[in-house]
């Protein structure tokens, strides 16, 4: 195969991140520390860029994952749904070092879904009558009030996959899927970090979770930390 969908597999994280520049908007998959593109997150740190806008559900936790970007001072703005116990974000939000836009989680996911699907904005019932409505257009449709939310595009999306083929067809594992597929659709450049890289034709077409049309670069990263955020068990 030739053309733009050929040779997506790159040799290193550094190669994959070559187009990264100061001031870019970066969409990162993951929910808490689950489904994080760990090697790409580290790779961005090593590049020494700054003034990034980060779009991610949590922006890390426990000093891990995207919290490392906060530590390094490379983020100027975070768009997320939840901060929780992420002290790295709390302190930088309080000091004004990082601007934080908090968005309801479903609205956050839908903003990227819309961006990837060519829909510039959408009406949603979520947030009506709350501070989320402030400054937004509202409309009553069939007797219920909705507010207008805008699509959210990124320059680069960083995605963690369990399995990818060379075309970029992807499968995820369990709840590590989370925001990864919508992030992949909404950026000009989508980079996938996969645990397993397989030959084209290995993944049955009916089993593809994210079609390769949305993927531009693939890096094979067999080893991951896969950090536990809260390890809970029951007695045998």
């Amino acid at each position: 195969m030739s053309g733009k969908h050929a040779n997506k597999v790159v040799a290193s994280i550094a190669d994959a991140l070559a187009p990264l520049r100061d001031g870019m908007t970066i969409l990162v998959g993951g929910f808490g520390l689950s489904g994080n593109p760990e090697a790409l997150i580290r790779g961005v740190l090593e590049r020494g860029v700054r003034d990034l806008t980060l779009v991610s559900n949590n922006a890390g936790n426990l000093g891990k994952g995207l919290a490392q970007w906060l530590h390094a001072g490379i983020i100027k703005k975070v768009i997320c749904s939840y901060i929780g116990n992420n002290e790295d974000l709390h302190t930088r939000m309080a000091s004004g070092e990082v601007q934080v836009e908090i968005t309801p989680q479903g609205t956050l996911a839908e903003r990227m879904r819309a961006a990837g699907a060519g829909i510039p904005a959408f009406f949603t019932p979520t947030g009506v009558g709350t501070v989320v409505e402030d400054g937004k257009e509202t409309r009553e449709i069939d007797g219920r009030r909705y507010l207008l939310e805008r699509a959210l595009h990124g320059d680069i999306a960083l995605v963690r996959a369990q399995t990818a083929d060379h075309f970029g067809n992807v499968r995820f594992w369990r709840t590590a899927r989370n925001f990864n597929p919508v992030m992949a659709t909404a950026a000009r450049l989508t980079i996938v970090e996969c645990d397993r890289l397989v030959a084209n034709g290995t993944i049955d077409p009916d089993d593809v979770h994210l079609a390769g049309i949305f993927v531009h670069r693939i890096v094979h990263v067999p080893e991951h930390e896969n950090a536990f955020e809260y390890r809970t068990v029951r007695k045998r």
């Binding site: 929910f31 808490g32 989680q105 479903g106 709840t175 590590a176 919508v182 979770h209 068990v233």
Partner: protein
């Protein structure tokens, strides 16, 4: 005697019809699962899981199989996993029958405040607003007063709102209450006739 947290969770479990799709919020609502009969309901977790099972046995934890509180969980037979946009389509689209959520304040008209304390640390919204406005029924499970003893069942919420006119039932350690518009209707009292009404009125400002 007021309800214990176990009593409260057990009472909330009784509100779940067989075969329903239920989302249990973080904290006390998560414990409601412990009082559901096997195969009674389908638990939905907004990070992308339907058919959530109990915590795993030690040694079987998977950091990439978690609930919305980021705790390790399991998935039951016929369970499914999906992306966040699909998960919130289920919620916003009215496919989730019931949400049982914690709260900071509930008003007599069913307004819910459960994501921020004025002047407090902003923890974020997470899935709270989508769940509150999208699920077909919302039940609140919470303590009757704040740690300082301030009422949490109020005429009007003065905490930042999560959604308006969505709560259909409130379960606290003092009983079960239904927002009816102007007032809360007492559905049942934990202490029956023994409960001092002056306390109930004082704590439901």
């Amino acid at each position: 005697m007021p309800y214990s947290t176990e009593d409260m969770a057990r009472r909330a479990a009784r509100e779940i019809p067989a075969g329903s799709i239920v989302n249990l919020g973080i904290g006390l609502p998560t414990q409601v699962a412990d009082y559901l009969p096997a195969n009674h309901a389908w638990l939905h977790s907004e990070n992308g899981l339907l058919g959530m099972g109990p915590f795993p046995y030690e040694g079987e934890e998977d950091p990439n199989l978690i609930n919305a509180g980021k705790q390790t969980v399991t998935v039951l037979p016929a369970g499914s996993t999906f992306d966040s946009a699909t998960s919130f389509a289920m919620i916003r689209g009215g496919h989730v029958d019931l949400a049982i959520l914690g709260a900071m304040q509930v008003s007599a008209s069913g307004d819910l405040a459960n994501w921020a304390v004025p002047g407090g640390k902003v923890m974020g919204i997470g899935g709270a607003m989508d769940l509150a406005s999208g699920c077909r029924r919302v039940i609140v499970l919470m303590q009757h007063t704040t740690k300082k003893g301030e009422p949490k069942l109020v005429a009007r919420c003065d905490y930042p709102l999560t959604a308006t006119r969505v709560v259909s039932l409130v379960i606290t350690e003092l009983g079960v209450f239904e927002p009816t518009g102007e007032v809360f209707r007492i559905v049942e009292l934990a202490d029956g006739d023994g409960l001092k009404f002056d306390k109930l009125f004082v704590t439901s400002g």
